[in-house]
Symmetry: D2
Subunit: 428 residues, 4 copies
């Protein structure tokens, strides 16, 4: 796949790597594209990028190593592509976001036009297999295949990925799912074992066995490329897929990026635990109005999201307080996710007290740098020869694959430990 | 001082230890007294007590060891006493709090009457030396000495402490300052060196050299007993006092208990730091109406408090955002401290976002269990033969003595590390 | 019914009037009973009583007229009774509220014991006819009739009411529904016309035609007594009942007391309207945990409540912004209703801005004085010879019968106008 | 001054009127200019304009009468000019606001460039007489006169105003003060009587007698033109100025536009009053970071603002609860004024409850349409022959001149009454 592994983990100069986004032209995908384009134009700042923290090296933000071996790829090294089901392109979706949520400046969009148009040419039509009604209604691309077997869909997607790598002479490619949330998918016996599942995927009857998110995941995994699921959709989060990742040497991570309200839960709950204050109830009410919110307005899709948001507290507290999580689509807010959390807790002598917080964040702006972080870290893991679940990435996810730890700070310590370990393996 | 050190750290059954409170009948002192009395009556719960967490042993909440050696004193072991400048007693102040802030039930007060009355007999008149105008106005006890030299005041206080220990046959006594906040005290050369300071304390001219909080601290330190400063007042927070503590084998800790808004700052700021989100401004507005608030309504006293509240962010973030901290005395709120914090931060591509929180806590209820925790941990430290600053208690304080770390979780890790170390020294 | 009408509207001294509560021992009913008992003991204050405002006369708070004719009955004049389906009494429910929500003092409960016990003897078993599953599950009184026709239930309730009036020699009696919310009731042709409905009520087949709230309403109306519906249940809110009220000379009012979040909506929405600021979306999230909340946790019952809460904005604004109202049962909050409202609005040049409010009110405490106000005003209306809908009481209700006006201040002006008119009819 | 009064109040077609802004290029002035320019380009909407409400006529928003006589001037009729002390112009200040607060789009600025540049040519250098240190520090225009007597300053300003009217052939001109807040000005005997004051203004010794805001006010008043003070500065708010306005036939109005937090106070306080809920304390904490905020960061200037904000409650409630108002300059917020208000109130049986609100408004965007409203209404008043204080404009001001009523809805009723009266005088 790449020659660097022989030469050690250091990415050589003038490397080119690919970031392939599932749901490329959604809010998160568009912001990733704009952010990487802005960086190339010298208009970006490292704010919001975890991989720009000092712990990743003196030059990690810009990725420009002046001495020794930088851990991570330069932001300039990335070439973008992806799958999409809507008839659109990045310049258009960036302009729409600007008009609706007023987060980017007109000047920024103009400056990034060249990259956005060039990368848009890399976008290919995705699959609608079992995405659910809400997402299906969004599809506007003509000629999206409708009668593929899962195996055919996988093959088609792999073809797109391989063409992308070849066309741009990329050293590595990472695939990240940033598409809208699918409804929960019921797992059965067949999802427990790769051999059984593999056989079923060949037939038309197997068409109902996997949702689109898992098709993309398997296509990537079987190429041995790293795959990250930034959404609550199924993706690679079932035993047969994890098994296949191990077999194919693919690194996988997920699921559901921890960007706002849930991040705060996993920051505040440890405080209550360590101060021995008893949480009586924790109510979280989320409102927003972007396309992801529109999809979540379907109760089936919403259920996936609420599940990952609502489980973290019991893990951290060690008991289950009454919880309530709601998500409502409020069109006027667009990308400005507002969350009100009301935490009722008991202190000494049984006295009840209250903490409330109001979070007003721009969803795509919070998510995009984490996607870039995950891309850099997944590519590093691949160079390191890691396979299977990347547990050290737990701090990025609401529902970290393979990890029971939800305390944000303990999760972050896992990442710090990993980085120290990797560094210790680099020859001085 | 106590025989246990020879026999190991385990507190034997039927031990009796003393907790001496400076500002005994204030809100925090009253709640400590009520809480310990309630525990004796079987009406308490361990909620709010850090030392009731599992890390302190299977039986640490009740302190009733069934096997091996419990680290900490039983809550039933404590006898209370203290210094006070107002003409009052615990039953009366508890009733006043009940009427004004409605936090205790009438039934609880009745059940605890016996202990509160008995312990009130241990309260002695304190000193008004340099407490400032606001606190002086609170003094209502007749016959408070007015023309003592610092050394005379220290001797008188030590006499009170020794009588307390003798009268109740106490194995150990810890002194904790929970009095109202004094104005900032200007330190000079004489406070840098114990020998110089000691000489000055003998004369009437030396009367302006130390505030009351430091008089109590030195009285305790010179007995070799543990001293904890739960307030922003000077106490033992200057070089000559720390030096004296080392010399006398006294363990000291402080300063200013971290109970509410500042606790949240030291929990949330690390999140912004680790996600590389740039805090642009952090505004904290605190309102409350208890006696401490009345004292803080004097701008001189308020200054002490704001200083300890306003320094934590820069330490954690590594840069200084614009900050504003205000504290206002709003009588109707009484003990219900309400804090509104507005955090303006910048994310990816320069987008500005907002987190706000509203904290509605009962100040005394939050503080009292931490005072009990500190009493238990300071007594443990003394038994362990520790002297000077107890750095492992940083997580309890807004301005931890001798520690630059303000991140709550890193501070807590210091405590965990300490406990593990102590346990490793206990013979199985 | 009463002799005063001849002598003019002035209630003579030593009058005794009855207040009959449907759902007597619920939170609101209990607080009404406790409040009136406290008043008798000299422990009450007029705070929260609209009828204690100066506009009702110099002595209206205490009701003790020193000159001229007071408009309203003294608070001491009231004798309480009611219908209930649970096996309980006011002293017990008051104590439960004290223990769970901590709003009353133990001392107050003790002082009011005599009245509460005496009035509890007036409580009778109610009807479960079509109350829905959630309310049925609350029923614990033995021997509640289960196979009555509507007409039999009406007759039984009327018997209870008449016995109450007789036993206490009451000049007037007003009936107010403060029971938990029933599910929405589907109205048909038969509810449009009294003659048709009346015929159906006689048969067992007619048992499904009316919910309990309407049974109580008709029982009261046919006695010619005033009836007030403080809940979203059907009560007298359908054409046949209004027609019957006119025929029988009964004054009726309703529906659903406007106590908290909706009150604020009808106060704030006029501001946006008069400043020509365009409301884009208005989200209201309510959480509380008392028995009413438990009943509303049933989606059928909740629907009734949300309907009355969600209609006011369009009436005031003149257009329909996106709205969302949710109500969740959070047990730990008990009677402390907390509402978070997020109002997104557009100003000059299309700029979007936000107002948020957080309301932390004690539901029963807010409702009870309004119930007393309505009792006094309904009794006044009856003495004035008014029949049918009392439109001037619109400011008390979320869904005012017979009135399209939802602006709180315009509604209040209707009450002021009414009072001025009544006063002008009183001989000097 | 203008011929229309003879011909009746109707503004003839193709009228041109002038709006002269003191502090022309500040945030409010810039937004007024941009808003009127946008309207001319067909890019405006009537949102936020009170004078666009239906009560001002079917065509009042656009001002394009199709039948009968429109009450108010078309928005297209306005020509802008003003006084300024900084070296800048509207296109520049609009661009600065766009960059700092992100409220206008780049496209809007481009579309309005022609008008902004043309109107900027009408801006003249103002006076620094007694503006205080904070405002003086802002002055960057060269050649601002420094040694004028008040009378010389008045004459110079009048010359600017008359040239403006002549150059643009304006039918009427209204002067509105939207400059930064001056420190409070101490009034003495000489301010009580015009004759005494007039004499003093001629001498250099009189230079300390009036602040700049009053110089502009008198210059306008003595021309008989309408003057509106949208700020808390002194302006015409003293007896001698009011007397002079009567003498010269000038209509005056003020003071301090009611745009955000105070508007809410005057909306919510009436609710507490009419529900007889007792406000115990009302705390308001305001943060923002625009140039007005920078000036208010000087404690002297802040005092003027807090005074007008803090008086409204006692007037509405009829008693004085504990209040606290603070205003802090937080640079990162720029024009986004955020206010947190905490209202502690008592209900039935003495139970304490809380309402909190958080207002996130863009100051200039809220103020600008009200300035345009006041311009239209002041011009109408002049055409109507009104002189002295315009009391019917109370709803626009925090501290309405000549009016004790602070209840927003009662104030608005005064405006409605006025409009009805004016309409009744128009010949059909």
């Amino acid at each position: 796949m790449h020659q660097e592994t022989q030469a050690g983990i250091a990415p050589p100069r003038q490397r080119r790597v690919g970031l392939w986004l599932i749901g490329a032209c959604g809010g998160v995908g568009t912001t990733v594209a704009l952010g990487l384009a802005a960086w190339r134009k010298g208009l970006g700042t490292p704010t919001g990028l975890v991989t720009a923290l000092p712990m990743f090296g003196p030059s990690s933000a810009a990725g420009k190593a002046t001495c020794g071996a930088p851990l991570l790829d330069d932001l300039e090294s990335f070439v973008l592509g992806g799958h999409e089901i809507r008839q659109t392109h990045w310049m258009q979706t960036a302009r729409e976001m600007q008009q609706r949520a007023n987060v980017f400046s007109t000047e920024l969009l103009q400056a990034c036009r060249e990259e956005l148009e060039s990368w848009s040419a890399n976008v290919r039509g995705g699959t609608l297999l079992n995405v659910g009604e809400a997402i299906s209604r969004l599809a506007s691309l003509p000629n999206l295949p409708s009668a593929e077997t899962p195996r055919q869909a996988i093959a088609r997607i792999q073809h797109d990925l391989l063409c992308f790598r070849e066309a741009h002479r990329l050293e590595q490619v990472v695939v990240i799912n940033v598409a809208s949330t699918e409804p929960p998918f019921r797992l059965t016996e067949v999802h427990q074992d790769w051999a059984r599942l593999a056989a079923s995927l060949e037939s038309q009857e197997g068409a109902s066995l996997l949702p689109a998110s898992s098709i993309y995941a398997l296509a990537t995994i079987e190429l041995g490329w790293p795959y990250v699921n930034f959404t609550p959709s199924l993706g690679a989060s079932f035993p047969a897929a994890c098994q296949r990742a191990e077999e194919c040497g693919a690194a996988i991570a997920g699921q559901d990026g921890k960007t706002g309200e849930t991040l705060l839960k996993t920051v505040l709950a440890p405080m209550f635990a360590l101060r021995n204050l008893r949480v009586l109830s924790w109510v979280g009410h989320n409102i927003f109005g972007n396309r992801d919110g529109w999809v979540l307005d379907d109760p089936r899709n919403k259920l996936s999201k609420i599940r990952t948001k609502d489980q973290v507290l019991a893990h951290i507290l060690g008991y289950k307080p009454q919880t309530h999580v709601s998500i409502e689509y409020i069109e006027s807010l667009d990308d400005w996710k507002t969350a009100w959390d009301h935490i009722h807790f008991e202190g000494f002598l049984g006295v009840k007290m209250v903490l409330q917080f109001i979070w007003q964040g721009c969803d795509s702006i919070l998510a995009a740098p984490l996607v870039i972080d995950l891309a850099r870290l997944a590519l590093l893991a691949q160079r390191q020869g890691e396979r299977g679940i990347l547990r050290h990435l737990a701090c990025f996810f609401k529902n970290p694959l393979g990890v029971q730890e939800h305390d944000f700070f303990r999760q972050f310590a896992m990442l710090e430990h990993y980085v120290a370990q990797v560094r210790s393996q680099i020859p001085a």
